[in-house]
Symmetry: C2
Subunit: 216 residues, 2 copies
């Protein structure tokens, strides 16, 4: 009985997500589901990306957090339309929330929509939000053991951003294990070593992401 109910909820989620995807497709929007731990630096990566891209690409952002609108305020300050979703305790974004947020955005004038998911390596990975690509952010201070410990998120990512590499000298992060475990899990993944503080690696990531944008 539990399984039936669960299946019913999942089916409803898939239905809303399929509708969202259709709308995004119609507008030619490339949609990214940006995931990672709390404090991995998702919003900082996003701010750096906006500063590099906004003159040539029409961007919009959906920010997910349990509480506060701190992140949407940071993004709006960088001059890109942003909508904050507060899940009020829920551990991931879902199709219904995305549907609402999409209605607040001028999608006809957007080429790239980035959805910053809840800071959580587990639950967000289990929910398709209708995205074209998943991108995960892992910071070196979290440790390379997070790849085998939380495989689903990294297995399904088109790109992994290894963030805060400026802190490498002060951590025990094992770069060799990181590359080995990640490539074993996901042989085709694009990997970018990034420091938002030092503006390192973001140009390469921007070029990669630009190459994915849909041309009408």
């Amino acid at each position: 009985m539990e399984i039936n109910i669960g299946q019913h909820i999942l089916n409803a989620h898939q239905e809303i997500t399929a509708k969202n995807k259709e709308v995004l497709l119609k507008h030619g929007v490339l949609t990214i589901n940006l995931m990672g731990s709390p404090g991995a630096g998702k919003t900082s990566v996003l701010e750096a990306l906006i500063s590099k891209m906004k003159s040539s690409v029409r961007m919009a952002v959906i920010e997910g957090d349990l509480y506060t609108s701190k992140d949407a305020e940071r993004i709006e300050a960088s001059g890109v339309p942003a909508v904050q979703i507060n899940t009020r305790g829920a551990c991931h974004l879902d199709g219904k929330m995305i549907e609402w947020a999409m209605q607040q955005l001028p999608l006809a004038d957007v080429d790239l929509l980035i959805i910053e998911n809840i800071g959580n390596l587990v639950c967000p990975a289990e929910f398709d939000l209708g995205e074209d690509l998943r991108i995960s952010v892992l910071s070196v201070t979290e440790g390379e053991d997070k790849i085998p410990k939380y495989p689903l998120m990294f297995k399904d990512s088109a790109a992994v951003i290894l963030n805060k590499v400026d802190l490498l000298p002060y951590t025990d992060f094992n770069m060799e294990d990181f590359y080995r475990d990640l490539r074993l899990l996901n042989p085709d993944v694009a990997i970018f070593e990034v420091s938002c503080r030092l503006d390192k690696g973001m140009d390469e990531f921007t070029v990669w992401l630009k190459s994915k944008i849909k041309t009408n």
Copy 2:
């Protein structure tokens, strides 16, 4: 209907947890639910605690991870009995898992049981595991904004360990906001500034934790 099913599952969980709690109480075990983000340093804190306590306190550890037994191996190497739970995708530990793990441990010879929960700031906070105290670990590299963004975990913690303070000079962590937001949320919380790498702050935390251990 969804609510009834959910309630049924929650009631079953409370029942198992109450039974677990009874067994722990009978043996006079102080039980800690240790929580925090992936990579906040929960296992490192635990290793440091073991090295300071194991000569005077009989300890045991339950390690929670989605996959791998890396953490239980680290703890066993430090000379304390440890049981690894692999949730295989689930985002928090639950009563049934704890019941099984407790059966693997010599509880009659244990004064302090530490349960290291899944690295996740959201879901673990919603499940009572029969613990006496919750302790959260936040690392400075995650940012002070995690307190208002993930309030439940920090609101219910008897102590918060602010870890990796050796990295403060390389981050934008705002100590003033951290203390203000945390004390606003949880006025009675004990706060420890810790660096496991530099062995800073762990003596103070050890003294505090020892004062909580039950004397038969």
